[in-house]
Symmetry: C2
Subunit: 464 residues, 2 copies
């Protein structure tokens, strides 16, 4: 693939893209896929497509074994992912900490891509009803394409990925609207990232029974429901502005970047891969690698059977969190413009020390068991928020291909003018537009924050 | 440190900063430090300050040892840096490669900072005559502050870092003009980066005999000389635009980012830390860890004595390259605007798969020994360029605190309109302004390219 001067179409010059996105965002029902029809289709998908997921001992995993010497859990191909150990040392304002933990290492960069196309003058997204073994309800809505490198280069011997041609050379038609690498769960993945793409298709796109066309407005509606839009759908959607202007920010983008740089430089985060066998405080049994106090997460093995995935039966490790997580932004209007209180958060496996995260992100049961001074800042405020201050509240699943029943409760909690604008140095007030701008780059906004950026757009609160 | 809404001064709003930088860039001599006076001072500095650098066996290193089990070369404090092993696997367009090598792991983020201040209406940079053991001529001009985290937190027991207060809370006065994390040599460092800062001081700045105030124009002049501006000075200078507009780019910034994202996603780069003892094709003797064919680099140990550094005698490992490197951009004018042919280059220790690098970056002796099809693309063109097409040509030293006599020949080679704009997919034409814009973020432009961005400004060629 080469781009010549003449064929290069700078998307910034398509001045009407913002208007087209705004129209799609404000279109809550569709002539192509009316809401009622979507509901019938989605219910049928969920009814007909089930995985039989059965926990098995590690010894029964096909193709996986604990590596001699390291004890790492690896696949015989040397591909996919592995479970390894990580030693982490942190230091922040004189407070030092260190620990070891298991972590998923998946160095490949996959593609998460949504094909968009105008119907009756309104942009629609092509969404897939995708089965994933770790999902609540098995089937959730995914991007058009959700493919690991192993998937799309055929390492696992499965069938071709439908619609992949829109996202890879040499046949990629259409106009790439958004394209960036974005991080995934830093607490569970070592430096994992995927390519998030949105491509506007040209010409006829053949339909398929597992796919539907939905407007941004329809997708925003579905985000208010629990466990409908999968994690990959949410991260790709976060790349797409809702086209509704956010207003003047409290801090310039330059100030936001400097604040984050300050934290990255002064907070020490030293990551060292270690053999899984050397992880302390975790115990491996025949069918589980678990934290001794039952905290954080465990690793289990599962045998999975189904009819219509790329391969019909396989087994794999899955990460099972100890409890449902909480990810919440405090939201305060400044001169009428909603601002999110972002936290420069470091997690064990983050690529570059810290990313902008929700104000509060934790496992709340464990967090509440800590002494007051060790609890995440603002946790009590979020947990105690009166109902009428909660702008958004739903439970969403994380990566059902790697995690077992991993859910977070996502909340936007509005605070009033009495809440200070002057905040501790690892926090900063940002607008959704600013976060959206940073999403053109990589590793600025973590995946939980990205779901909540989309949530803010979905509430319509951005209209001021 | 907290920033309130009122105290926040967005630097974008200082509309005259560009003009002030342009004035400094065009001021080739200074009333504060006239060129003749600088020359006398610098000669005296080089005459009076010498290190006695003596190669020693590893066994004589004080505080350093080869760790049991891994064979990693580590410091007893667990700080500073270590020499470890790295296994690298790459894949690009079906071509696979893998190797192991020693690599320097220094996870700390240090500060490289220049204090600037107006004298007689012209911005000047406060530069230090700094001794470094691996430097050619020992003394080179460094930023005002060049401090590892160990330096400025006092881990090595040395004296305080002069002028550090301009760069760290809580006393930081002045206006931060530029502030970002930037990568260092990816072939030799594992994910290393430092914080690059430029701060405009307010009030009186006490002078010191080891420091001088120089205009951007003076510094540009010095960049044409060999081994005067050290690596850290060059990387911080690259953050500072010359204030002279670059004109309309061939590709939008969005196209540049998409091209880089495409390469990052499709090129596989899997890095795995391994024990230094397990690195193959390298041999450790009493006083050297060297590649069996004498290629790439070797690690040596040195005993260093001097009078005026932070500590007066110490020993440390140093990395000694096998030969002088070459870093060259092809430059082509497009509608009068100089464009650099950037290469999306992956190196063993890079943080995020690839960064924009010079068109050609290699050890040319080794590269020329390769069969034609394996040589770096455009190498022959650079090596064979007629003298009148070479816009810039000087030899510069890399990090004298880690490397021994590591130099690169930096060149800008102009090509004519017959050179195609349509280039292979891992290359892209960019303007210096575009690279400058990307330097507000991290890990987009590698350190060799950053020296050449400054070089292009220094040639004045950007004026079109």
């Amino acid at each position: 693939m080469t781009i010549t001067a003449s064929s290069a179409v700078p998307y910034e010059s398509t001045a009407d893209l913002g208007l087209r996105l705004a129209l799609s965002a404000q279109t809550a029902d569709s002539s192509v896929t009316p809401n009622a029809e979507f509901r019938r289709w989605f219910t049928a998908q969920r009814r007909s497509k089930r995985y039989d997921v059965r926990r098995i001992p590690f010894a029964e995993l096909a193709g996986w074994h604990f590596q001699d010497g390291t004890g790492n859990l690896v696949h015989e191909s040397g591909r996919f992912f592995s479970v390894e150990g990580l030693h982490v040392r942190t230091s922040w304002n004189g407070q030092e900490d260190s620990w070891t933990q298991p972590i998923i290492n998946q160095p490949e960069i996959g593609i998460l891509g949504i094909v968009v196309k105008e119907f009756d003058g309104v942009l629609h997204c092509l969404m897939q009803a995708k089965m994933e073994p770790g999902n609540l309800d098995t089937v959730q809505l995914s991007p058009t394409v959700q493919a690991t490198r192993s998937n799309y280069t055929g390492v696992h011997g499965g069938s071709a990925v439908r619609y992949l041609e829109h996202f890879v050379p040499p046949n990629r038609g259409g106009q790439v609207l958004f394209d960036s690498l974005q991080s995934e769960q830093g607490a569970w993945f070592l430096r994992k990232r995927n390519r998030n793409m949105v491509v506007e298709a040209v010409g006829e796109i053949p339909g398929h029974e597992d796919f539907v066309w939905l407007t941004l407005g329809q997708l925003y509606g579905l985000l208010h429901e629990d466990n409908v839009l999968n994690m990959d759908a949410r991260t790709v959607l976060s790349q797409i502005p809702s086209g509704v202007g956010g207003g003047h920010p409290l801090h310039s983008l330059w100030e936001v970047l400097t604040r984050l740089t300050e934290v990255k430089a002064r907070r020490e985060l030293v990551q060292r891969s270690i053999p899984l066998a050397n992880v302390s405080d975790w115990r491996r049994t025949d069918d589980e690698i678990a934290h001794e106090a039952g905290q954080h997460f465990s690793l289990i093995a599962a045998d999975i059977r189904a009819a219509n995935r790329e391969v019909t039966r396989w087994s794999q490790p899955l990460l099972a969190p100890a409890e449902q997580g909480l990810a919440a932004f405090l939201v305060r209007r400044v001169a009428g413009v909603p601002h999110l209180l972002a936290h420069a958060r470091s997690e064990a496996g983050v690529l570059n020390v810290a990313e902008l995260a929700p104000t509060v992100q934790c496992q709340p049961g464990h967090a509440q068991s800590l002494p007051t001074e060790s609890r995440p800042r603002y946790l009590d405020l979020v947990l105690g928020a009166p109902r009428d201050q909660v702008l958004f509240d739903s439970v969403q699943s994380e990566e059902g291909g790697r995690f077992h029943y991993a859910t977070n409760r996502y909340q936007l909690v509005e605070v009033g003018d009495e809440f200070p604008l002057d905040v501790p140095e690892e926090f900063i007030w940002v607008t959704a537009d600013q976060l959206g701008g940073l999403l053109q780059h990589s590793n600025y906004v973590n995946i939980e924050a990205r779901t909540l950026v989309t949530a803010l757009r979905a509430t319509g609160a951005m209209r001021g």
